[in-house]
C-alpha cells in the first residue's frame, strides 16, 4: 500500500536555529490521540516543527492530515476527546503540552493568538464587534476603552472603526469579519499567531488583501506565524518554511521554494503536481491515458459537432430589495448577460460571490425565472416550455452542486440516490435500473459495494462522485456544475476534474462550470466568461483570457491566485 512508503519518510527537519537564538515554538515528537466510539485513533504521530521568532511557518496538508490538530494542541484547544499522548510542545523553552488550564488561559491571547478559519461562524452573532474586541483586551489586562478598541480594529484595516465597533457581525461582510478576527487575534500583540486557513472561506481578491495586511502587521510587530493551509501555492508564497503533513505525520519540511522546486517525498510530489496553479493545462487526463492523448489534445470542440447548443441572450434578473420605509428598490443580480455554449465544450463562468454567476446557473436550470432576456436550449426558448416539456428538459440538463454533504439526502442510500431520477422519469424497470446504477458507479470509479452505503459513510470526494453519477443517470446532454469541486481537497479536486474530463470525452457532454477558482477554470474550461456585479466583463477562450486578459478586473482576479507569481520548474508545470 501507499501507506508503506509514507511510514519511512524522508523528513528534512529544519535545524536552521542559529546558536544562541532559541526557537519560539518547538514541537518535538508530538503524538495526539482521539478517543472515538471504535477505540483510540492516533491523529498525529511524531510531529516535528520549529518556529524561530519573527518567522512564518506553514503546515500544508489535506483535511484529516492532522495539521489543524497540531496547531490546536499548541494553544491547548484540542476537542474534549483528544489529548497529547506523547512528545513536547516547547514555547520559549517551557513545555506546554500538559500545562494547566490556568496557565493556558494566561498564555492565550497574550502570548499565543489565533485567527480561525471561517469568519462566518467564529464571531458570536449576539455581541457587537467592539464588545468582542474589548473582552479580549480586558481578559489580558490591557486598556480597553473605546479608543483602544478602535485602534485595534483600524490597525487590522477596518475603515471607520469607531462606528464599526458598534455593529454586529451580521452587519459585516466576510472580508470585514475576517479583519475583525485578525484584529482580535493580534490585539494583545502575541508573540505567536496561529492562523488556521485564515482566508479559505473568502473570495480570491479579498483573500489576497487580507493576507497582505496580515503579513504587514505581523512583520511590524515581529510576530511569528504558524499558518495552516491546504493550498501549497499559498503556503509557499507566504511562509519562510513549509511543513507537509500527511495522515498525521510530517512527511517533509524545508524552506518554501526549495521544497516546491525539489519535492522529495512522493506525497509532496503529488501535491506539487496537482496544485491548481496557473501552469496546469487541460491535458492532465491525456497524460495519464497515453494512447488517447492525441485525440484528447485536439480541442474538444472539434471531436464533436461544434454547434451552438445553449444561447443566453441579454439575460436579466432583478430582485426587489425592501428598504426601511417599505419602499422597494430594484437590484439587478444579473444585468444583460449574453453568451453561447457549444455542444461538447466546457464554458466556465467566473466571478466573486455576489457577481451573479450562480443566478445565471439557476436560470439556465429553470429554477429561477429571468426578468428579461432569453435562454435558447437546442434552439428552443426555454421560457415558453409547458410543464410537460419542462419535465423533458430537466432530463437533458442536470446540475451538480457545491456541497456534497448538503446535496445528498442523508436518509437515502447511494443506490436509492442514484436511482431516484430514473424512477421519477419512469425509465426502465427494477432490473434495468439496477443495471444502470451499476454502470454509473463504474463510470465514476466507485465500487459496487458503495450502493448499500449512506452518504455519511463516504468521503467528500466519494460523495461528489455520487452526485456526478446521479446527474449522469438520465443521460443528460448538459451538466451545470455550480462550484462542484470547490469544497474538495486539492488531490481529490484533481481526481474529480479528471473524471469530469473523461466523461466529457466519452459521452460528449457539455459543461457549464460556475466557479470562483480561476485555477480550476484553467484545468477544465474551453471558454471563460468573467462576471462582475451582474455584468459580463470579459469572454474568450481560456488561453486568450489567461494569457492576455483585457479587463482590469480579470487581471486582478488572475493576480490574486495564490502562488501565481512563484517560479516553478518546467517539468512540474
Amino acid at each position: 500500500m501507499r501507506d508503506k512508503e509514507m511510514t519511512s519518510p524522508d523528513v528534512r527537519i529544519d535545524e536552521t536555529g542559529a546558536t544562541g537564538v532559541r526557537p519560539l515554538l518547538e514541537i518535538r515528537d508530538l503524538a495526539i490521540t482521539f478517543k472515538t466510539g471504535s477505540g483510540e485513533v492516533k491523529a498525529v504521530r511524531n510531529a516535528h516543527l520549529t518556529i524561530m521568532p519573527g518567522e512564518t511557518v506553514a503546515i500544508v496538508g489535506e483535511s484529516g492530515s492532522g495539521k489543524s490538530t497540531t496547531a490546536l494542541a499548541a494553544i491547548g484547544l484540542l476537542p474534549n476527546n483528544g489529548k497529547v499522548s506523547g512528545g513536547q510542545i516547547l514555547l520559549d523553552g517551557e513545555d506546554i503540552a500538559h500545562a494547566s488550564e490556568q496557565r493556558m488561559i494566561e498564555l492565550r491571547g497574550n502570548t499565543i493568538g489565533m485567527v480561525p478559519q471561517d469568519p462566518m461562524s467564529n464571531l458570536n452573532p449576539v455581541w457587537k464587534i467592539g464588545y468582542q474586541v474589548r473582552e479580549t483586551l480586558r481578559a489580558n489586562g490591557r486598556p480597553s476603552g473605546p479608543d483602544d478598541i478602535a485602534k485595534v480594529l483600524s490597525q487590522a484595516g477596518l475603515p471607520d472603526a469607531k462606528r464599526r465597533a458598534n455593529q454586529y457581525p451580521h452587519e459585516f461582510s466576510g472580508g470585514m469579519r475576517q479583519r475583525a478576527l485578525i484584529a482580535i487575534g493580534l490585539s494583545c500583540q502575541p508573540r505567536l499567531l496561529i492562523a488556521d486557513e485564515p482566508t479559505s472561506a473568502l473570495d480570491v481578491t479579498v483573500q489576497r488583501q487580507i493576507l497582505d495586511h496580515l503579513e504587514t502587521m505581523t512583520n511590524e510587530l515581529g510576530t511569528s506565524v504558524l499558518l495552516i493551509t491546504h493550498d501549497l501555492g499559498l503556503a509557499a508564497e507566504r511562509a519562510d518554511k513549509v511543513v507537509v503533513m500527511y495522515q498525521g505525520r510530517v512527511v517533509e519540511a524545508g524552506p518554501s521554494l526549495e521544497l516546491l522546486r525539489n519535492p522529495q517525498h512522493p506525497y509532496t510530489k503529488r501535491l506539487v503536481e496537482s496544485a491548481p496553479s496557473l501552469a496546469s493545462r487541460r491535458i492532465q487526463v491525456a497524460k495519464e491515458q497515453g494512447v488517447e492523448t492525441a485525440d484528447l489534445l485536439a480541442p474538444a470542440a472539434e471531436t464533436v459537432k461544434p454547434e451552438t447548443f445553449l444561447q443566453i441572450q441579454d439575460l436579466r434578473k432583478v430582485y426587489k430589495l425592501r428598504s426601511g420605509l417599505g419602499k422597494a428598490t430594484d437590484f439587478a443580480a444579473v444585468d444583460g448577460v449574453s453568451f453561447d455554449v457549444r455542444r461538447g465544450t466546457t464554458t466556465a463562468i467566473v466571478g466573486e460571490s455576489g457577481s451573479g454567476k450562480s443566478t445565471v446557473a439557476k436560470m439556465v436550470l429553470q429554477l429561477e425565472k429571468p426578468t428579461d432576456g432569453r435562454i435558447l436550449f437546442d434552439g428552443v426558448d426555454t421560457s415558453a416550455l409547458k410543464p410537460a416539456e419542462l419535465f423533458k428538459f430537466r432530463r437533458r440538463v442536470q446540475p451538480i452542486f457545491q456541497d456534497p454533504y448538503g446535496s445528498l439526502d442523508p436518509m437515502y442510500n447511494i443506490y436509492r440516490t442514484i436511482e431516484e431520477p430514473l424512477r421519477v422519469h419512469k425509465i426502465g424497470d427494477q432490473a434495468s435500473r439496477e443495471k444502470k446504477v451499476r454502470t454509473l458507479l463504474d463510470q465514476v470509479a466507485l465500487p459496487q459495494s458503495a450502493m448499500q452505503r449512506y452518504p455519511n459513510e463516504l468521503s467528500g470526494g466519494q460523495r461528489q462522485r455520487v452526485a456526478i453519477a446521479r446527474a449522469l443517470a438520465l443521460d443528460p446532454e448538459v451538466i451545470i456544475c455550480d462550484e462542484a469541486v470547490s469544497a474538495l481537497d486539492v488531490l481529490v479536486q484533481a481526481q474529480v476534474l479528471n473524471l469530469l474530463a473523461d466523461l466529457q470525452a466519452n459521452l460528449g457532454l457539455t459543461y457549464l462550470f460556475i466557479t470562483h477558482d480561476l485555477a480550476v477554470v484553467r484545468q477544465i474550461a474551453d471558454h471563460v466568461c468573467v462576471m462582475e456585479k451582474g455584468r459580463l466583463v470579459e469572454t474568450g477562450s481560456t488561453d486568450e483570457v489567461f494569457e492576455s486578459p483585457q479587463q482590469d478586473y480579470t487581471k486582478a482576479l488572475l493576480n490574486a491566485i495564490p502562488g501565481a507569481k512563484l517560479m516553478l520548474p518546467p517539468e512540474v508545470a
Partner: protein
C-alpha cells in the same frame, strides 16, 4: 421598534374579537338551560324565569347578547354572575392569586431549569447529566394530578413542611408547594431544552475562538454559551406563561387554590357565559402581552432579529 410594538398591539383587536366570539358562541350552544340549572330540582314560576332571562339577556338572539356583552366590557361594567356577585369583583379576587402562582412556577422553571440544564449540557454524559436526565423523564412521565397528590401527602401532611391546602389565605409562602407541582413538568422541558442548546453551542466555532482569546471558563460560559442558548428556552417559557395563567385547573383543584382555574371550572359547570368570556378576555390579553414580551426578549438576545423591516 415602537412601530413594531404598536402594530402588535393593534393585532390584539381581531384576536380579541375572534376568541371572545368563539367562546361566547360555544357557551351559547351548550345544551341545557342555565336558569333551570340554577333552581336545581325545584320548578320556579314562569314569571321568575322570564325576569331572570331578561335580566341576563338570555331572551335575546345570540348576536344581541354578544353585542351587549362587548358594550358592557368596554364600559367596564361586566355585570353580575348568576349568584348575583359582580363579575369584576370576583375576577379581581382570583387573578392576583393565579398570577402569583404562575409567576412563582415560572421562576422555578426558569431559574432551576436553566441552571440545571447548563450544568448538564456542559458535562454531557457525566453523572450529574445522567441523573438529571432520568429524573426529568420521570417528572414528564408522571401526570400532574399524581404528582400533586404525592407532594401534598408527603410535604404537606407527613412532613408538614407546607400547608396541604391553600384556601383563603393565598400568599407567596402557601402557594410555593402548588407552584412547585405546577412548574415541575415545564421545568423538565426547560432543563432538556437548555441542555441540548448548551451542548450544541459549546462546540460552536465562536466559543473556541472566545477561549483562544484568553477568556476564563466562567466568562466563556456566561457570555458566549449561555446567552446564545437561551433563545429557544425563552420561546418555550413565553408560550408557557399563558398556559400557566389559564391552565392550572388540576393543580388549583388539588391544593384548593382560589384562582382562575377554579373559577373558570365552576363557571363552565354553571354555563355562566358572561363569567367565562370575561375570564377568557383577560387571558387573551395575557397571552398577547406574554408573546410580545417574548418577541422583544428575542430581539434583545439575538440582534440578528429585527422587527422594523
Amino acid at each position: 421598534m415602537i412601530r413594531f410594538i404598536l402594530r402588535r398591539l393593534l393585532q390584539v383587536i381581531p384576536v380579541f374579537i375572534g376568541t371572545t366570539l368563539l367562546v361566547y358562541y360555544m357557551v351559547f350552544a351548550l345544551p341545557g338551560d342555565p336558569i333551570a340549572a340554577l333552581f336545581g330540582d325545584r320548578q320556579p314560576p314562569q314569571a321568575v324565569i322570564d325576569t331572570l332571562r331578561s335580566q341576563y339577556n338570555l331572551d335575546q338572539p345570540f348576536w344581541v347578547q354578544y353585542g351587549l356583552f362587548l358594550k358592557n366590557l368596554f364600559t367596564f361594567n361586566l355585570g353580575n354572575d348568576f349568584t348575583g356577585q359582580p363579575i369584576a369583583a370576583s375576577l379581581a379576587r382570583v387573578f392576583p392569586v393565579t398570577a402569583m402562582l404562575a409567576v412563582e412556577a415560572l421562576a422555578i422553571q426558569a431559574i432551576f431549569g436553566v441552571a440545571f440544564g447548563v450544568f448538564a449540557g456542559l458535562r454531557r454524559g457525566g453523572w450529574f447529566d445522567s441523573t438529571v436526565l432520568v429524573a426529568s423523564l420521570v417528572v414528564i412521565a408522571v401526570p400532574t394530578f399524581v404528582l400533586g397528590f404525592v407532594f401534598q401527602l408527603v410535604f404537606g401532611v407527613q412532613l408538614g413542611w407546607a400547608k396541604p391546602t391553600v384556601g383563603a389565605n393565598a400568599n407567596w409562602g402557601t402557594l410555593l408547594l402548588p407552584a412547585v407541582v405546577l412548574g415541575l413538568v415545564s421545568f423538565a422541558y426547560v432543563l432538556r431544552l437548555t441542555r441540548a442548546s448548551v451542548s450544541e453551542n459549546m462546540n460552536a466555532d465562536y466559543v473556541r475562538t472566545a477561549t483562544a482569546k484568553g477568556l476564563s471558563r466562567p466568562r466563556v460560559v456566561l457570555a458566549h454559551i449561555l446567552r446564545n442558548s437561551l433563545i429557544p428556552v425563552v420561546t418555550y417559557l413565553g408560550a408557557n406563561l399563558g398556559g400557566l395563567m389559564g391552565g392550572a385547573i388540576v393543580t388549583e383543584g388539588i391544593f384548593n387554590v382560589p384562582g382562575v382555574g377554579n373559577k373558570l371550572y365552576q363557571a363552565v359547570l354553571r354555563s355562566e357565559g358572561p363569567t367565562i368570556v370575561s375570564i377568557v378576555s383577560v387571558l387573551v390579553l395575557v397571552f398577547v402581552v406574554a408573546n410580545l414580551l417574548v418577541d422583544l426578549l428575542y430581539a434583545w438576545l439575538d440582534p440578528r432579529i429585527r422587527y422594523d423591516q
